[in-house]
Assembly symmetry: C2
Homo-oligomer: 229 residues x 2
């Protein structure tokens, strides 16, 4: 373990005063009661601030909504998972026997959480500037541009803007069905757009009303852009 920790500190370009913090950041709850979830809670907040600040500086003059979308794009699980792989976190994780056999070492959520926990550990060990610098190194190759905000724009927003640009009425969303047991419900949502006296529908499904609306909006947007209304 000690050699793994030393290697990882090299890749992080950060040397811990208290290496036990790093060891803890790599410990999944399946391995020990001294696991990384509290550090992850802290690291998540550190990451959010460091990325918010980067977006704030990179996108001068852009509205809060763009900053918020860019941040969401940068801190989402898939992005963190990719960074965790590059840092070689799978080898360094401490997992319980069962979790290891179930492929936990490759699970995106476990890896993303461990990365957040490392950021939290650096914050405790070296203060905010050290953690901010680490986040800066992690995101070194990522250009923060307005197009990142546009790419991260959700389907409902994109649909709304598409319609507004054409002076069309806003879409309507209705839940047409909710099925399944509590905590496992599926929502069916219908999106309706009216323009020039014609009416178009698109349906979407999801595990929440919001998710279903997004799917319906994405389908509607595809329909609209691929055909004349």
């Amino acid at each position: 373990m000690n050699e793994l920790l030393a290697d990882l500190q090299q890749r992080l370009h950060y040397r811990f005063q208290d290496a036990r913090l790093l060891a803890r950041a790599l410990t999944h709850r399946s391995f020990s009661a001294s696991h990384n979830e509290r550090l992850e809670f802290l690291g998540d907040a550190v990451l959010n601030l460091a990325v918010a600040h980067r977006a704030f500086e990179a996108l001068q003059g852009y509205p809060e909504g763009d900053l918020s979308r860019v941040r969401a794009q940068l801190v989402r699980e898939e992005s963190l998972h990719g960074l965790a792989l590059r840092l070689g976190l799978p080898e360094a994780l401490q997992l319980g026997e069962g979790e290891r056999r179930a492929g936990g070492r490759e699970r995106a959520s476990i890896l993303a959480d461990a990365l957040e926990a490392i950021i939290g550990a650096v914050y405790l060990d070296g203060g905010y500037p050290a953690a901010q610098a680490l986040v800066g190194r992690l995101l070194e190759g990522v250009a923060i541009t307005p197009s990142l905000a546009a790419a991260a724009k959700d389907a409902k927003t994109a649909l709304q803007e598409w319609l507004q640009a054409r002076r069309m009425a806003l879409p309507r969303y209705e839940v047409v069905a909710i099925t399944g047991a509590e905590h496992q419900q599926t929502f069916d949502v219908r999106c309706t757009v009216e323009a020039l006296g014609r009416r178009s529908h698109a349906q979407g499904q999801g595990t929440s009303r919001r998710a279903a609306e997004q799917t319906a909006a994405a389908t509607m947007l595809t329909q609209l852009t691929e055909s004349v209304l």
Copy 2:
């Protein structure tokens, strides 16, 4: 305005190097295109981290879920609104004519946003340590205790735990009606609990499914604890 800003800096116990940042933090979008929303975005992240750190230290050994609930309790709009009033923010706000006439100076969301923007402005002006110290002063009188976590537990969680402790089945939530136009919808949710062959209902209303479920759960919990099922 200059005297207002000077007074406010005294109450904040923070002197800005660049007082324009403070002026901007107090500017609502109804007053000027140079408004406070980007600063608010940054300040929200600063506040989240500073409060996460305080909860982390005050609640040693408590799980992440408790930290998260304590933080949510401390940074919610009502809490920030109270702090904004104590700082005398209503007088210092820059609002457009219409917003001022509509009572914007007293609106909780405008005041809470301005306070977050001030925290963001201090972060930019003096760095994270200065902003963290400000948050520390703002929360000086607030004891962060495990009971705060329990109090902050949401009604659905509280109901679920109450039922589980009595080995009763989990509640069911159903949307029974959705009314109103898009973005102004009202959800009616029915909560059903079954135990010992009897069935109890409680209804709740809210501007989201989640909010309506919380209201229904709170009503159900009151019914259950005030009577025998």
